[in-house]
């Protein structure tokens, strides 16, 4: 079996590795235009900040690919003929396949802002973007970031590490308010402000102003404010990187359309990770999943299918994590920015504004639905088990210690949380 994978990100790599584990004979070829070897995209920020070099972000030593007979090709794909099972690289070289996996990732969103193509304006996704950011931020005195999401705050942290003052424009009422409930969003906003980051909420980008050499000189906002800057980071989300698939047999929408087996509209062609879009996403799940964890899980599932054990992708109980400057965030289960009428929410925050806890639960049987942990580490297996087994909020609050994952000798907060919860019940304050 001749398997070709486009993209050497976490999805493609996980798929390749798992195919090799299941099938020692298959020929596996990985094509990437971005890098010779797999690296951790999530670590790009640490290269800029000087915590690591590029080599440190490679999870496997270079001999690993030879030893596991995974052929690596460094090239961009120009065209794909899915029916005849052949693709052509930019250098004109054709590559035939029996099965194809497209895991070519995302690229930063641009929304047609005036000036979005000026020098000094960019997104951050690839290693090339990082190199560009390195060049674009030499000797600058201030920067503006457009978009209040995870990449936005990462970029802010990167620039902050080089002592470049940063202003972030956020369309929503609070930072990352399309994901985080108000309290958590405000907590993170305050923490950012403590690091000198200027947050402009309820503010959109109107126009990027240029100097007379096609370089960015500042931005105009929807509120009429003007900021001078020599760098603009566009971090208003990412979209599937499927430009090279235009005029193709594959059905696409925003991403490559796939079913629950990660199969595309053409037999023996699969898509997974950031670039794929579920035709019929499950209730409450997004059509496009742009996360490290989901990419990894999709890659694992797909490897089984390709090796003959046809498997439905099931992302299980939702989880995610992030770090906002010095504050870690872990979430398990379902925590919407605003609860619906079948839900209740309990929130606790430490007076120092660096630790918080939220538990959302059903208002009918009090069963736990999801958690947010801010500045607290918590065991994934425990949180998932409680959600799966529909433990009650009272049980959860009384047993938090079991899942506590903060380092030894750390101050613990489960007693404060429990006290606050039962005090709230007594006073009738809990939502």
């Amino acid at each position: 079996m001749n398997i070709v994978i486009i993209g050497n990100g976490i999805t493609g790599i996980t798929c390749a590795r798992n195919i090799r584990k299941l099938d020692s004979k298959a020929s596996i070829t990985l094509i990437s235009g971005e890098s010779d070897h797999f690296f951790s995209r999530t670590a790009l920020m640490y290269i800029y900040m000087g915590h690591m070099k590029f080599e440190h972000t490679k999870p496997y030593e270079d001999w690993f690919w030879i030893k596991n007979r995974i052929n690596l090709i460094r090239a961009y794909v120009k065209t794909l003929n899915a029916i005849d099972k052949i693709l052509v690289l930019e250098n004109g070289k054709p590559i035939a396949f029996d099965k194809l996996i497209i895991a070519c990732g995302s690229k930063p969103n641009k929304f047609g802002w005036p000036g979005e193509n000026l020098h000094g304006v960019q997104g951050l996704y690839s290693i090339q973007d990082l190199e560009q950011m390195e060049r674009n931020t030499q000797n600058i005195s201030s920067a503006v970031i457009v978009g209040g999401g995870l990449i936005g705050i990462e970029m802010a942290e990167m620039l902050h590490s080089r002592k470049i003052p940063v202003t972030i424009l956020v369309r929503e009422k609070f930072y990352w308010n399309n994901i985080l409930p108000k309290e958590e969003a405000e907590l993170i906003g305050k923490h950012m402000a403590g690091h000198g980051i200027v947050l402009r909420l309820n503010t959109e980008l109107e126009e990027i102003i240029s100097d007379n050499q096609d370089r960015v000189a500042g931005v105009l906002t929807s509120t009429g404010e003007k900021f001078e800057c020599q760098f603009v980071g566009l971090t208003a989300g990412v979209k599937p990187n499927i430009g090279f698939l235009m005029e193709n047999e594959l059905e696409t929408d925003r991403g490559i359309l796939i079913n629950e087996y990660l199969e595309t509209s053409v037999p023996d062609v699969y898509a997974a990770g950031d670039c794929a879009q579920f035709r019929n996403p499950k209730q409450g799940e997004p059509a496009i999943e742009q996360l490290w964890y989901t990419g990894k899980m999709q890659g694992e599932t797909l490897a089984k299918t390709i090796c003959g054990d046809k498997s439905v992708y099931n992302r299980g109980i939702w989880f995610n994590s992030a770090k906002f400057f010095d504050i870690e965030y872990q979430t398990y289960g379902q925590v919407l920015p605003e609860i619906n009428d079948q839900q209740k929410s309990f929130y606790w925050e430490h007076p120092n504004g660096k630790h918080a806890f939220r538990a959302n639960y059903s208002n009918t049987d009090e069963s736990i639905l999801g958690f947010n942990f801010i500045g607290i580490r918590f065991r994934q297996v425990i949180a998932e088990e409680w959600i799966r087994e529909r433990k009650t909020i009272a049980f959860v609050i009384q047993n938090l210690e079991k899942g506590w994952f903060d380092p030894e000798f750390s101050k613990t907060f489960y007693k404060d949380i429990s006290l606050s919860y039962f005090q709230g019940i007594k006073d009738g304050n809990n939502e």
């Binding site: 900040m49 902050h160 989880f319 010095d326």
Partner: protein, 440 residues
């Protein structure tokens, strides 16, 4: 309201405080060199205070930005800084430290002037004049205390690091510097209660034991202490807490690595090849010292009839190769180039024994939190023992490695809160995380 301009001034080699700290430290080194050339002999007290004062104030200034900054990981710019990234400054420091060790071990008369600056302190503590080893002990302890303070400032968000660092500072100053000096003052054997066989290999050699037993009741207790620590405390404590109870909480070599060596921890080699070399080397040293000890006892039992002086030669060579060249010159001198734990990783027989217990019979592990690893590589990069922590974490496996000294920095630098050092039940510690959906 906090002053924002202060928090923006996050620590980096470029801050004025750190430049002042580096300058003061350079002055301290310069004063030491001047003293060594003879001036120390004529003005010991002046140079004593000059050297110690400059070192301490240099360290203080260097640490100020860490104390002032918001609590959190402070690794900005490490890979660009010539001090930490094997640049010219790093090589300069490596040559200076290696040179110091070579002179200390084999040409101590060049240090005569510097040794004399320690006479007032030595007289006070031990009622005898200083020698090269007292000088070395004083400098060593000073380095642990000053750089320990810097470490505490850098990792002030973590109580694990604060407590652990206070512990190594305490054991170095109390058990490895003051107490042995005090014992000398009382005309007792100079004994280090925080070092045991096989790290302090001679403590189970027949000559040392004979000498201790003949020196009186305290000497007998010292022999007893050494035996208990080697044969009872080592396995029991390692079973309960992992080898960290010794390597990153008590040991003097560990103390120096964790404090003076911290700026260089990222320079340890993480490759599989390095791991293979490590396993051969460290266990060979262990075999070497066990054989040497056995031979010495056999010889002593047969009153020297088997080997004559040959076994003495064996132990002399061990002392030269392992005790001096490896643990001193390479182990510490090469900090800036090869990372802070070269000796502990490749050469220490005590670490080898502790590691065997930790790997095969211990409750200690670094737990990986489910499927949360994003493979970023911070853990592996900042592992001073060169363990590829990420290789385990990204598979959902706990990290159980003979070499892990339990410093806890991988857990601290993890941006997703995936790693936790803990002592749990021994059963099941090797079982990896499997998603509920994938369980059969």
């Amino acid at each position: 309201m906090k002053d924002i301009s202060l928090s923006i001034a996050s620590p980096s080699a470029g801050s004025p405080f750190q430049k002042a700290g580096a300058a003061l430290t350079a002055c301290a080194i310069l004063c030491s060199i001047i003293a060594a050339f003879g001036v120390g002999k004529t003005n010991p007290l002046l140079f004593f205070f000059l050297i110690i004062g400059l070192f301490i104030s240099g360290g203080l200034f260097y640490s100020i930005p860490y104390f002032k900054a918001q609590a959190g990981i402070k690794n900005d710019g490490i890979m660009q800084n010539p001090l930490s990234n094997r640049g010219a400054i790093a090589w300069g420091i490596a040559i200076l430290m290696t040179g110091f060790y070579i002179i200390l071990y084999w040409f101590p008369y060049y240090l005569e002037g510097l040794i004399r600056t320690m006479d007032p302190l030595s007289m006070m503590l031990r009622s005898k004049a200083s020698d090269q080893w007292f000088l070395y002990g004083a400098f060593y302890t000073l380095a642990v205390l000053i750089m320990g303070m810097r470490f505490i400032a850098k990792y002030k968000f973590s109580r694990y690091h604060i407590i652990r660092t206070i512990s190594v500072m305490f054991f170095q100053m109390g058990f490895a510097f003051l107490l042995p000096a005090f014992l000398l003052k009382l005309n007792q054997p100079e004994f280090y209660f925080s070092y045991f066989w096989p790290l302090k290999y001679s403590y189970l050699f027949p000559n040392d034991i004979d000498y201790l037993i003949q020196s009186g009741n305290l000497g007998v207790f010292m022999v007893f202490w050494g035996l208990v620590m080697t044969f009872i405390a080592t396995p029991v404590l390692t079973y309960k807490y992992g080898k960290r109870w010794y390597c990153s909480w008590v040991c003097g070599c560990g103390a120096l690595a964790e404090t003076l060596g911290d700026p260089y921890r990222q320079n340890s080699d993480k490759s599989l090849k390095a791991w293979k070399i490590e396993r051969w080397m460290v266990h060979s040293v262990l075999v070497f010292i066990v054989l040497t000890t056995a031979l010495l006892w056999l010889n002593s039992w047969k009153s020297g009839t088997i080997l004559g002086d040959a076994s003495g030669l064996f132990s002399q060579w061990y002392g030269f190769l392992i005790g001096s060249v490896f643990s001193g010159v390479i182990g510490t001198g090469f900090y800036p180039i090869m990372g802070s734990r070269v000796w502990c990783r490749f050469g220490c027989p005590m670490a080898a024994i502790l590691g065997l217990f930790q790997r095969f019979k211990s409750k200690f592990r670094i737990t990986t939190n489910g499927g949360q690893c994003i493979s970023c590589g911070n853990c592996s990069t900042y592992c001073e023992m060169g363990i590829d922590v990420r290789a385990y974490a990204q598979k959902g496996e706990n990290i159980i490695r003979a070499s892990c000294v339990g410093c806890g920095v991988c857990s601290s630098v993890c941006p997703r809160g995936v790693l936790k050092l803990e002592n749990l039940e021994e059963e099941g510690r090797f079982i990896p995380y499997i998603r509920h959906e994938d369980r059969k």
